[in-house]
């Protein structure tokens, strides 16, 4: 458990207050004041759980650009995988060859690994079951509905596609 620090409180407060405005969408002074008080209280209590490192490290034009590109890369992968999955489902659900493969991952920190794991889970056809560390390298255990390749590195290239490269650029 770490101490509450001012940049962490400020960034959590900004996110909470933006969310409040989005949900209420009224700009009367009373509502904004109530939202500010509630956001500040939430930020004071919760910021130390959310922000572990530098609070504003993502505020950088290069990172925003990478994030924007990543959204489209991800949507492309999502559409491809969804069409494949829909074809399997409508084709009688017999065309499956499931298995769990262990895939190496090479990303700078825990946030990036969590983001890639969630992206993989969100893509139909692959679910991340676990993350393990072995000899200083991290591995995902991924349940794959159609095991096309049992070699770890090649399977990783097929599953992760271009997503890993762009996530690495966001969090570098």
């Amino acid at each position: 458990m770490q101490k509450t620090r001012f940049p962490a409180v400020l960034s959590t407060f900004v996110v909470c207050f933006a969310f409040w405005i989005l949900l209420t969408w009224s700009f009367k002074v009373q509502e904004l004041a109530a939202g500010a008080v509630v956001s500040l209280a939430a930020a004071l209590f919760a910021s130390r759980f959310f922000i572990q490192e530098k609070a504003f490290r993502l505020v950088h034009p290069r990172r925003f650009f990478s994030l924007l590109v990543y959204v489209f890369v991800f949507l492309g992968e999502l559409l491809k995988a969804n069409l494949d999955m829909a074809r399997r489902c409508f084709g009688g659900c017999k065309d499956v060859n499931p298995g769990i493969v262990k895939v190496p991952v090479d990303l700078p920190d825990g946030y990036a690994e969590a983001m890639l794991a969630n992206s993989i889970t969100l893509t139909p056809g692959t679910i991340t079951l676990d993350i393990a560390e072995e000899d200083g390298k991290d591995y995902y255990y991924i349940h794959w509905i159609d095991v096309a390749e049992t070699d770890r590195v090649k399977a990783g290239e097929i599953i992760k596609g271009r997503m890993e490269k762009w996530i690495g650029r966001i969090w570098k």
Partner: protein, 115 residues
């Protein structure tokens, strides 16, 4: 008129993917494959329906707050859903659920056996 057609097509695309996912949940052979099919419903299904509803809220209802709420709902479903799917799949595996037909490869079972 053209806008109504675009909205209906988007919602239709979402419904087709939701139907595919639902059929997969019922017909797939084992637990993990059923979970895989269910992700179809809450990715493309949600994105298609939410995009259609977003266009409807902005251009036909003319309500900004409804549009923002729809966007927030879609964003929350998409960010929170994989965490639940991961936890359920891992819990099922740890609880000893295995498919009837042996899997193609099972690296997790092999590594757990070595511990």
């Amino acid at each position: 008129m053209a806008l109504r057609i675009v909205i209906d097509v988007l919602i239709g695309i979402g419904l087709v993917f939701a139907l595919a996912g639902t059929k997969g949940i019922i017909k797939m052979p084992d637990t993990f494959c059923r979970m895989q099919a269910s992700t179809c419903v809450n990715t493309m299904g949600v994105i298609g329906v939410a995009l259609g509803a977003l266009l409807y809220a902005i251009f036909i209802m003319g309500s900004v707050s409804a549009a923002i709420k729809i966007a927030v709902i879609a964003l929350l479903i998409i960010t929170v859903n994989p965490i639940g799917a991961h936890a359920i799949a891992k819990g099922a595996y740890r609880a000893g659920i295995r498919p009837d037909k042996p899997m193609e490869t099972d690296d997790l079972g092999r590594d757990l056996g070595n511990e």
